[in-house]
């Protein structure tokens, strides 16, 4: 058995299982990037070429921040997992088109370095980096972050208009021909992207569905308009709800990993968004609702951990089989 002798040295040995699925972290991130492209494309069409500049700057500065951080800390450079691109894209799509470049760079730096890398990088951040970066910008530069006046849209955003008691055209909100941040306006494009993620199995409906449903119920109960289809539709299509529900609330790292926990988390987000939108001073509430939810994730996860097979919940909590 000469060839066995030869092979012996080259044989790879490992613990079981010996096969692995094709889905990798990188593939997942690439799927998310693809899913965001329709909304991004529509943003460029809707707001002009400057939208490309804002999002481009955001993506590049996220990637560069991560590389620099890794270099300075003498760590392995981790941008290959593409998560920095996703963060940059999400942050960019959450900015108004008039955002000054230097602010965008600062926001990206904050998102990657302060929110993600100092906590240990991908998987260790306690809140969504893109939303963390956005929150930082909202607090630091409130005027720039709420300046939605462009050449095309001089009025208030649809949600602000509703808040002020004006009527809005739901149809144009569905298509996206309204003011707002770059990526949030088109319901259709966001839903196309979300459908893609659902089909390839990157996200499931647990968080988005419980989020949107609970928000709808909250809107009917406390929105002040009762069951008014036009109002509900405008609330669903307006603002960052769809972008948030499908692309940011579903962020793996910052949502609970247990299936029941995800539903609890979604309901919490829906209720908080409703409170912020209807009782707060601002028309918007999605990003802060998600950030609050992120903070509760460890608790929700602990309380909703699954019961091992073959036990009742009570038995398992008592310690299971000894």
């Amino acid at each position: 058995m000469a060839d066995t002798e030869n092979i012996k040295a080259k044989m790879k040995v490992s613990s079981n299982p010996h096969v692995r699925s094709v889905m990798t972290t990188r593939n997942i991130m690439i799927c998310v990037i693809i899913a965001l492209l329709p909304a991004f494309g529509f943003g460029i069409y809707n707001f002009g070429i400057r939208a490309l500049l804002v999002v481009g700057v955001s993506v590049v500065s996220c990637v560069v921040s991560e590389i620099l951080f890794c270099l300075i800390c003498r760590k392995k450079i981790t941008v290959g997992d593409m998560s920095a691109v996703v963060t940059g894209l999400l942050l960019g799509l959450n900015l108004p088109v008039s955002m000054p470049v230097w602010m965008t760079v600062l926001g990206s730096f904050f998102a990657i370095v302060v929110v993600k890398m100092v906590f240990g990088g991908l998987g260790q951040n306690f809140m969504n980096p893109a939303l963390g970066g956005r929150a930082f910008l909202v607090i630091s530069f409130p005027t720039a972050m709420t300046n939605f006046i462009t050449d095309a849209y001089t009025g208030a955003t649809p949600l602000a208009a509703i808040k002020a008691g004006e009527s809005v055209d739901v149809m144009s909100m569905v298509i996206g021909k309204t003011g707002g941040t770059i990526g949030e306006t088109s319901l259709i494009c966001l839903v196309i992207g979300a459908a893609f993620l659902l089909i390839v199995g990157v996200i499931d409906l647990r968080v988005p569905a419980s989020y949107i449903l609970s928000f709808m119920i909250f809107a009917i109960a406390f929105g002040g308009h009762g069951f008014d289809p036009a109002f509900i539709a405008a609330q669903l299509a307006g603002g960052g709800l769809m972008l948030g529900a499908f692309f940011m609330a579903t962020d793996y790292v910052t949502r609970p990993t247990t299936s029941f926990g995800q539903i609890v988390y979604g309901i919490f987000l829906g209720v908080m968004t409703g409170i912020f939108r209807f009782f707060g001073p601002n028309a918007e509430g999605v990003s802060f609702a998600i950030l609050l939810g992120n903070l509760l994730t460890p608790l929700i996860e602990r309380l909703t951990r699954p019961t091992a097979f073959g036990y009742t919940r009570k038995e398992f909590r008592k310690g299971g089989a000894k």
């Binding site: 044989m11 010996h18 096969v19 699925s21 990798t24 997942i28 991908l122 310690g319």
Partner: protein
């Protein structure tokens, strides 16, 4: 029709087409055979022969070392060359009887129990014990122990595990297609041991021809039925199988008998038939040799004790340089670095792959996607357990149900970050079990 199944699980590439339609071939033994004295769970067997002794095919060469143990038979006639420690597939050095084959095939005369249908229970269990039968799906638990629960009347179901949920393996399938009568008769014998028991042949629905054949054979038998299970890994894991077929739940602190079930692999059931009806001890088994690096994938009936190298040669050898060789299925088998290892009663397959997924993938940090939790058939949180294992946090590990893990490998398979979750959990479980044993 609702399919019988469980929660969780994965759908790996099946790869069964490589060897599915290859009829079982019988293989001649080579010049030297190795019989490890531990081919089962329990006490090592004690040799009955010494160096220089002549042995016949079917002669008992080692007797059980206790109740939870099994005897070993020679699968060839020849001379005992020596008794010395040899390395087995798991890497352990195990005391083994080495026999030089004289290629004459002088065989012991086998006599089964003639009227086994009316034979007393004790005689049948004795015959099974004498034949050295162990669980042939891989675990190797002595079958006579399994068939002797504290209260035989409490057994409601005797399940024949015909799921064969491991990808690539087709030996059970061929067994059922070619010797279905023996499978059914073997299960009848087992069912007859328990007054209140009903027999179930549990087959995954990727083998429709098998299901049909077994249904035809069991028609009119009101003590045996065939159940089609959803094709999903690990449908054939004992706890999942019991749940899928009966809706009863077994946890790590229980035995299947506690919920009135006894599960035996299809090969084991056939061995029971051979032992009881024909008096033939366990000295042969079917091994699937397959994978993309094997020239001619096939199912081979091998005399237990031949080396994997010989088995591979029978399948034409490699068609290219393999990166990985696995003994057993791709999900739960052992990686081998040397083919000069003896086959045992529990060898199910020999796989050779051109590419190794595991070494190709670089483990990254957990992204908390939750896929491992979704697929875990034990309904625990592999991501958390692996974290606890990395930090040697025993309390956390046990609190989060680490001991409920059945090491099926679903979590490692599905993990997009390619973390070796199963491996971490497995090591921690071993440490915890060892610590508990030490305490006692």
């Amino acid at each position: 029709m609702t399919k019988f199944t469980f929660t969780g699980g994965i759908h790996p590439f099946e790869g069964k087409n490589l060897s599915k339609d290859k009829p079982i071939e019988v293989m001649e033994a080579g010049d030297e055979l190795v019989f490890p004295l531990v081919q089962h769970i329990g006490a090592p067997a004690k040799p009955l022969v010494k160096k220089g002794d002549e042995v016949l095919r079917g002669q008992k060469i080692a007797e059980a070392g206790g109740f939870v143990s099994a005897c070993v038979y020679s699968s060839v006639s020849g001379v005992v060359k020596t008794i010395e420690p040899r390395r087995t597939v798991t890497g352990d050095m195990v005391e083994s009887i080495i026999i030089t084959n004289d290629h004459e095939d002088r065989t012991v005369e086998f006599t089964g129990i003639e009227d086994y249908e009316n034979a007393p229970r004790e005689d049948i269990i004795k015959a099974i014990q004498e034949a050295g039968i162990v669980g042939m799906g891989g675990a190797g638990f002595p079958t006579h122990v399994k068939l002797s629960p504290k209260d035989p009347d409490s057994i409601d179901y005797c399940i024949a595990n015909c799921a064969e949920c491991e990808p690539y393996l087709t030996s059970d399938y061929r067994r059922m297609m070619e010797e279905p009568e023996k499978v059914v008769e073997g299960l009848r014998i087992i069912v007859s041991l328990f007054e209140n028991a009903h027999g179930i042949l549990a087959v995954e629905d990727n083998k429709p021809d098998c299901i049909e054949l077994l249904r035809k054979l069991t028609k009119g038998d009101n003590r045996i039925s065939v159940k089609a299970l959803k094709t999903k890994y690990p449908q054939g894991a004992e706890r999942q199988l019991i749940f899928a077929t009966t809706g009863r739940k077994v946890n790590s602190g229980m035995l299947p008998a506690d919920v009135g079930c006894i599960v035996n692999n299809v090969d084991t059931v056939t061995a029971v038939y051979n032992a009881v009806a024909e008096g033939i001890p366990l000295m042969e088994r079917i091994i699937t040799v397959t994978g993309d690096a094997v020239k001619d994938p096939k199912n081979i009936k091998v005399p237990v004790g031949v080396s994997y190298a010989e088995v591979l040669e029978r399948a034409g050898g490699f068609n290219c340089e393999p990166e990985k060789i696995v003994c057993g299925g791709p999900m739960m088998g052992f990686a081998m670095f040397d083919l000069e290892r003896p086959t045992t009663k529990t060898s199910t397959a020999l796989l050779a792959f051109k590419h190794d997924d595991v070494s190709a993938a670089e483990p990254g940090p957990c992204i908390r996607c939750g896929r491992c939790i979704d697929v875990c058939p034990g309904r625990v949180m592999p991501n958390k357990l692996a974290d606890y294992a990395e930090h040697f946090n025993r309390e956390g590990f046990v609190e989060y149900g680490g001991m409920e893990c059945c090491e099926c490998g679903c979590c490692s398979f599905i993990c997009p970050a390619k973390r070796p979750l199963t491996q971490e959990i497995k090591s921690m479980r071993k440490m915890e079990l060892a610590a508990r044993k030490a305490k006692k």
